[in-house]
């Protein structure tokens, strides 16, 4: 071989063959295209809005709504502003999502573990539960709970009566509501103290285990703290709590606490549907832990319950958490199906009723989408943070 190859430097390629320049041109053209499309859309929208006589802007948020909302977490009436209605919807969405996530997680973990049970019957039943509920659309389940189960209940006059304090009718489940009187602040204080105590206890117990290897019964102590401290405070202050018991007045109950059929149907449908997905995730997570881990734990002398708690579950959680996150996100997004049964959530009130009344489609849809994007990104970043803290630390 001569040194021909060494001496000849490759000729500079023409600019259309240069990947860097080509990429620049390509991106420029793409950007231009996106801008043109966006511009056309915005221009069309402006023209259409003008033609329909709709003035844009967020001024409408200050005006009063004029419609009622059945369930509110904050004070609201017909003279409240659209912004208050927005907050009411948002809080209702968050309420349903939080309760739904909580119940779905519990139910899903139970079903997922049950499916791996050595008990043949339990495993079969849980498989039937998961396979059936996963394959039926959520909206259908929601309709079933609402139109086929909860609406056909008896009317308030013939309500099912439990001990004269709880009433079940087609207007919902009415129960007594605690009213805290003077001096009950101490109970809240005791509750907060119990929570702080539990956190401190956990940290201490973990440190002690790492140092000495001795385990401390954190769960039972925590349970005792969270029940015992408020109870002590209750006794100490002489029961400053009275109960507001619902009463039948006219066609419906007054007073007390209520779980409306819309709310119950939504929570049932969301948590049961999502639990069937969580069950599969939990099962896959537990199955992903190698059998050798169990055997190694046994050979170290750990008893079966400790093996599960200290060896299997921590490793399974790594596999479980990422898909679990997306299920939580799905549940939050699916809570928008509330619109189908008129539970006053964000989509139902704001993107539904308020949009029809004001016609401010762009602003209202924009705000609604922003809320969901914000919720999604918040949940996923929280879960990413948790995931990172649990992830396997490798070399």
């Amino acid at each position: 071989m001569t040194d021909q190859t060494k001496s000849s430097t490759p000729a500079k390629p023409p600019f259309w063959r240069d990947p860097d320049k080509r990429a620049l041109v390509f991106q420029g053209v793409f950007l231009l295209l996106v801008v043109v499309v966006l511009f056309t859309l915005i221009r069309n929208t402006m023209l259409n809005l003008e033609a329909r006589g709709i003035s844009s802007g967020f001024g409408f948020l200050e005006t009063s709504t004029g419609f009622k909302i059945a369930e509110t977490l904050i004070p609201y009436d017909e003279s409240s502003s659209f912004f208050t209605a927005f907050l009411v919807g948002l809080l209702n969405t968050i309420k349903v999502s939080v309760i739904g996530v909580f119940l779905a997680t519990i139910l899903g973990f139970i079903m997922g573990v049950a499916r791996l049970s050595k008990n043949w019957l339990v495993a079969r039943l849980s498989a039937v539960y998961v396979d059936t509920l996963r394959n039926i659309p959520l909206l259908l389940q929601l309709f079933f709970w609402y139109f086929a189960v909860l609406r056909p209940l008896k009317n308030p006059k013939q309500a099912d009566n439990f001990f004269d304090i709880i009433f079940l009718s087609n207007r919902g489940l009415y129960g007594p509501k605690p009213i805290f009187e003077d001096g009950s602040g101490l109970i809240l204080f005791a509750l907060i103290a119990a929570i702080v105590g539990i956190i401190v206890l956990r940290i201490w117990a973990k440190k002690r285990m790492e140092n000495t290897g001795e385990r401390f019964p954190v769960f039972y102590t925590s349970l005792g703290l969270i029940i015992g401290l408020p109870l002590l405070a209750l006794i100490g202050t002489g029961f400053p709590v009275s109960w507001d018991i619902p009463e039948l007045k006219g066609f419906n109950f007054r007073g007390g606490m209520v779980m409306t059929p819309e709310f119950s149907a939504l929570v049932f449908a969301l948590s049961i549907y999502t639990s069937s997905f969580i069950a599969e995730i939990v099962r896959a997570g537990i199955m992903s832990v190698d059998k050798g881990q169990t055997e190694a734990a046994y050979s170290l002398g750990l008893k079966p319950s400790w093996t599960t708690r200290l060896v299997i579950i921590p490793q399974a959680m790594r596999v479980i958490i990422p898909p679990l996150t997306s299920q939580y996100l799905n549940l939050t997004k699916n809570s928008s199906l509330a619109a189908a049964i008129a539970y006053p959530d964000l989509v139902s009130i704001f993107a539904g009723t308020a949009l029809n009344q004001t016609g401010q489609a762009v602003e209202i849809m924009g705000m609604t989408l922003a809320v969901y994007l914000f919720l999604s990104l918040t949940i996923s970043s929280l879960m990413n943070w948790y995931n990172a803290s649990k992830a396997l630390v490798e070399r």
């Binding site: 990429a23 390509f26 991106q27 793409f30 950007l31 996106v34 859309l41 069309n44 929208t45 023209l47 259409n48 809005l49 033609a51 049970s117 050595k118 008990n119 043949w120 019957l121 339990v122 039943l125 396979d131 059936t132 996963r134 394959n135 039926i136 659309p137 959520l138 909206l139 259908l140 309709f143 079933f144 139109f147 086929a148 997004k333 699916n334 928008s336 199906l337 619109a339 189908a340 989509v347 993107a351 539904g352 949009l355 489609a361 762009v362 849809m365 609604t368 989408l369 969901y372 994007l373 999604s376 990104l377």
Partner: protein
Amino acid sequence: MTTQKYPVGQHPNLPPPNNTVGVLFWLKENMFNGVLNSILTLFSFYVIITLLPPLLKWAIIYADWTGDSKDACTKDGACWVFIRVWFDQLLYGRYPSDSIWRINLSYVIAIVAAIPLFFSAVPKKIKLVLAAFLLVVYPIICFYLYYGGGFGLEVVETPRWGGLFLTLVIAVSGIVLSLPLGILLALGRRSNMPVIKSFCVVFIEFWRGIPLITVLFMASVMFPLFVPESLSPDKLLRVLVGVILFSSAYMAEVVRGGLQAIPKGQYEAAAALGLNYPKSMILIILPQALKMVIPGIVNTFIGLFKDTTLVLIIGLFDLLGMAQLAATNPNWLGFTVEGYVFAAVGFFVFCFSMSSYSQHLERVLNTGHRN
């Protein structure tokens, strides 16, 4: 007691010990080995006994099967007459009954063309031709069959489409059209060009972050604002655009998973062979990546199939929508549950068979890498 002696190697096979065979042993080993398990078993039995007999009584024993009006339903159980009377509407919506053969014909064509794809004995070339036919020619045939307006077929406007037929139209066209878009988005997200990459990331995260129902609201409320007034697209078309954009984002994430799983050596080998970007993608990377994510694509399809029920909220009547509509008919009040059960069985059959197929594929495609 004398023990019988056998020559070495001549000992006959003895049956297993008596206490390790039979139903009772199986029951003891699987359902009553321990206090907790026994309690669980009894509880499960209790659940089955409280649920199953009333269900069977309602659905079969005390059900009414024959007749053609509400008056035929005299027994306590389910009134399947309701389903029988509304059967055509549940399957085809308000499609004119003398044109229903057009829909059935399209189903038959699809089934006949698709069946050979599932058999490994069929040569690959025939499979390719059939797949190309299903993806390119078949949609055009379907459009003319469903909408009409050519070949002497009467025009059927989309508001008359409904039932299971509409569910299938939305789900299938949603998935087929979102696949190419999803592939482009996935490639874009892995691109080195910052503008393209950030556009794709924003696009995907936007659509994945919002609920489908807001997409449908946008399709019905905002879409008309985005286009010139002279161009007022059909409601079904608007919904389809929304559904396609929505599911393309999910599809992109599925495909991205496949692209990430391709070893770097494949990209380098393609480059070393002198293939340019489109060629290396089409010939080397995508065939491997897509094959890997078929189960994921099927799962996305199942999700979309179930989510099509949401279109009833903006006034299109799919299978569930028709069941709901039938149950609110003044002549047929009080048969909500029958309608829901029928729709649930319909959805279950489709979704369950698809998910079983995807699990089967996962086992077939998962060759050798794990134990």
